[in-house]
Amino acid sequence: MTVFKTFLKVLNKYKGTLILYTVILIFFAGFNIETNDTGTDFVSSKPDVLIVNQDEEVGITKSLVHYMEDHSNMVAIKDTEEARDDALFYRDVNYIIYIPAHYREDFLAGKNPVIVVKSTGDYQSSLAELLLTRYLKLAEFYQIIEVNEDALIEQIETTLSKEPVVEMTSHLDRNQLEKATRYFNFANYCILAGCIYVVCFILSSFKTKGVHKRTIISSTNYKTFNRKLLLSNALFAFVLWAFYIVLGIILVGDVLLSMHGIFYAINSFLFTLCALTIAFLIGNAIANKNAISGLVNVIALGSSFLCGAFVPMEWLPDKVLAIAHILPSYWYIKTNEYLKGLEVFDMDALKPIICNMGVIVVFIVIFIILTNFISHKKQIQK
């Protein structure tokens, strides 16, 4: 109990910092609600799509193009790759579909020709992607039973017309999900900074040379002491996480009480664990408090910027995103971004989430191993 009580007393000294991070989070989330309201109406509109067709517009190719034209806004863009990339960047188009030459021929021959796409990765583009996949899946399916091209096309089109596309968007509150994603993305900064800062400072207080020596020579079992200290820190991280979830529900809305909310919560919980292991690593490697606060800023701010916690991921240059892959934040934020466009929670849809979480778990394991390695080395030095 002594360790835990003292832990709380020391923690009490750092409450100012925690409150600061939380206020920043509330402020940012509140600010977000403002900006988002203006965007409400375009959320339900059709995606902007460009089709670059190298095939002749006949048969199955024609059917595909028409289907896309019916369900999305076709945009006209200058016929250069550079112009198309610019258009993507400036959001003039959400989704570009490249139909290769001889597509129809190859498809009918059962060669499964590849359709290349480029996307902005946002919600609109995922709508377009949904349309395209739906068409192609059906085409693949009926091709097995229908040999005649006209009959095949007819089959596809009747099936598609029976399933209205509008339904896809009706269940989800896009506005709230967008807010939720932004909230949890920003929480990346607050969890990292809050968790690492507090845990490192508390650890370094307990492990200050003299204080630590006093603990070692005392009649308290050292392993028990370490375990208590670890548990206290973990408990703190858990409370911090739970608090941010409750805060999220208050600020974002009841979308967080749905299936989406559960996944946002799991994702942020895993990330909090990861932040905790980073904190243990730093706390064990460095005792100097000035160095710690510098490092916390670099890590929390740095990875928040690089991984798109403050600005949407799609706005970041590819090179930055490539670097961001080595940071846990990237995988955490990627899941958040993915969640806001997720329709159904079946195994296929959850695969990317599980992958991202798997990467974070790997990070956690690496950090734990490194921490053990460092503290072991330090003991040998003594």
Partner: protein
């Protein structure tokens, strides 16, 4: 007499430096043992080895008749340590600091409360309970450091230079506190390089240099090692060389020096040395001002044994 600690042939080497070199000594129950030695003589290293904070190369250490080991928690329960450097939580106030360190030994809350109160009284910090370490002066901080080490009422106490850089008021408070602890039955090991403290406080003294014991014994026994009995200094203006040479030939005189109008004479033994000197000065009509006569100090013992001063 019961031995509380027995150290046999303790040797500790840092890379190439032999910090502790084949030390053998005992600590008796209820005594204050002084470890006296200049900076770097191995005092702290010796204590750290005894406490199992450091691995040593050779030797054996037993406390309360049992072998001391890192996980000998039943031995550790009875030990209190005040380290050379102040070791407290910056984030906790005086009371909570003592509470934490005492709590590492004493689980019972009520007992702890009375123990903390007694510790606060002992070091005279009752009025500073709510103060944070940053708000304490250097002397008060040292007192807190002591309170944290002894609040759990250990039978065996190690104090590693608890009075370094402490003002006279706090120093007296600390020294009084240590004597009180001994009266209550604690056995104390006290390291310092202030010989005055050792002379005043300790029952027995070990003089260390370069990791070796140069001499050990009671204050008087050690002083007998210095081959001088009395040191006299007199302020005399412009004394001529011939007089100095004459004084040199006086009975019992070991050495005479004259610097900055200060005549400095050491005597091998004997009484009435000063009277004889004054008579001579009067006879010759030499004016003198202040006269001091001193018994030899442990510094003289150290000087005798090593040829260098204890403190520079």
């Amino acid at each position: 007499m019961k031995n509380i600690i027995e150290v046999k042939n303790l040797t500790k080497t840092y890379k190439r430096l032999k910090a502790v070199d084949n030390l053998t000594f005992e600590v008796h129950e209820g005594e204050i043992l002084g470890l006296l030695g200049p900076n770097g003589s191995g005092k702290t290293t010796t204590i750290n080895c005894i406490l199992s904070l450091l691995k040593y190369d050779a030797g054996s250490i037993s406390i309360f008749g049992r072998e001391m080991q890192p996980n000998a928690y039943d031995i550790k329960k009875e030990i209190g340590v005040v380290f050379q450097e102040v070791a407290v939580f910056e984030e906790l106030n005086v009371y909570d600091n003592i509470d934490y360190f005492c709590g590492l030994y004493i689980q019972d809350k009520k007992v702890r409360k009375t123990y903390i109160k007694e510790a606060l009284e002992l070091v005279g910090l009752e009025e500073f309970q709510k103060f944070y370490p940053k708000q304490l002066s250097g002397g008060l901080l040292r007192r807190l450091n002591i309170a944290c080490g002894i609040a759990h009422k250990p039978k065996l106490i190690f104090l590693d230079e608890p009075t370094v850089a402490v003002d006279p008021q706090s120093r007296n408070n600390i020294l009084d506190g240590i004597q009180t602890l001994r009266k209550k039955g604690a056995t104390i090991i006290y390291t310092t390089h202030y010989m005055e403290e050792v002379e005043m406080l300790c029952d027995r003294i070990l003089i260390l240099d370069k990791g070796k014991i140069l001499a050990s014994g009671t204050n008087d026994a050690l002083k007998a090692l210095a081959h001088i009995e009395e040191k006299v200094s007199i302020e005399v203006m412009d004394l001529e060389e011939t007089y100095i040479e004459k004084i040199q030939k006086f009975k019992n005189v070991e050495e005479v020096s004259y610097q900055n109008n200060l005549l400095f004479i050491t005597y091998k033994k004997g009484n009435n040395n000063v009277t004889e000197l004054i008579d001579y000065l009067k006879e010759e009509g030499i004016h003198y001002n202040k006269i001091y006569s001193e018994r030899p100090t442990l510094n003289d013992v150290f000087l005798e044994l090593t040829g260098k001063e204890l403190r520079d």
